[in-house]
């Protein structure tokens, strides 16, 4: 595995002993974790309405899955509005349940 780490645990990424992925086998720094940049709230540019399906389609993956808050950056309230709008749009035939229209 690894040799003894003089930094004691290897929590500091890039701090010493080679850094990167093989720095002592300690927990890696998460891309979205608490040590990263503070999360900025993203506001929707257009109303989150089921009739606005071209805008809603930006928050759907190629397979038709709703993107997570981690990706959209929306607040919890807006993320719920987004999910509800996409589900309504699916029911009325404006957006697909699976895949891209």
């Amino acid at each position: 595995m690894s040799s003894s780490n003089s930094n004691g645990g290897g929590y500091r990424d890039g701090g010493g002993g080679g850094g990167g992925r093989d720095s002592g086998g300690g927990p890696r720094r998460s891309k979205f974790g608490r040590f990263g940049a503070p999360r900025r709230e993203v506001l929707p540019e257009e109303p989150l309405d089921y009739k606005n399906s071209p805008y809603l389609a930006k928050f759907v993956s190629a397979n038709g899955r709703i993107q997570s808050r981690k990706r959209t950056g929306f607040s919890g309230q807006n993320q719920r509005k987004l999910a509800t709008a996409i589900k309504h749009a699916r029911l009325i035939g404006l957006m697909p349940f699976v895949g891209r229209a």
Partner: protein, 145 residues
């Protein structure tokens, strides 16, 4: 206890029925609201477009957007009554706070003969790619070590 509220109803209409006459069909759908005491605030064609997936064998449909105010008890009756209308492929009935200003604009002229007769399914879409499951960071590190 009865309360009057404002509702929005998006009706997806069968193009085969729309081609027979738009005004007659629109009045017939509106009549299903007024039959139960609802007051129609706005009723206009929203769009005619290809559906994201076929509904009752139809690949295209015309959307009618209706804003109305009705007693809360009447909504269930309206919804149930509309399910028997074969010209309606789907309905989406939601409560709204207020009617948007654009809903009061006059409806654009609509010629039913301009509806594309292409009811065939669209060209085959590419196969959806399987999405990779989000791998745990620790697992990834373990395999690389």
């Amino acid at each position: 206890m009865q309360r009057t509220r404002t509702y929005e109803c998006m009706c997806l209409l069968d193009n085969r029925e729309v081609r027979k006459g738009w005004d007659a069909l629109k009045n017939a759908v509106s009549g299903q609201f007024t039959k139960h005491g609802a007051k129609i605030l706005s009723s206009r064609r929203w769009d005619e477009r290809r559906l994201a997936y076929p509904i009752k064998g139809q690949h295209r449909g015309t959307y009618l957007l209706v804003y109305f105010s009705a007693d809360t008890n009447a909504v269930a009756l309206i919804r149930r009554d509309m399910q028997f209308n074969e010209a309606l492929l789907r309905i989406m009935l939601l409560e709204v706070e207020e009617v948007p200003q654009g809903a009061y604009e006059p409806e654009a002229a609509f010629d039913v003969n301009t509806i594309p007769s292409d009811d065939a399914p669209p060209a085959a879409a590419p196969e959806p790619v399987p999405e990779p499951m989000p791998a745990e960071e620790s697992n990834e590190a373990r395999t690389e070590a």
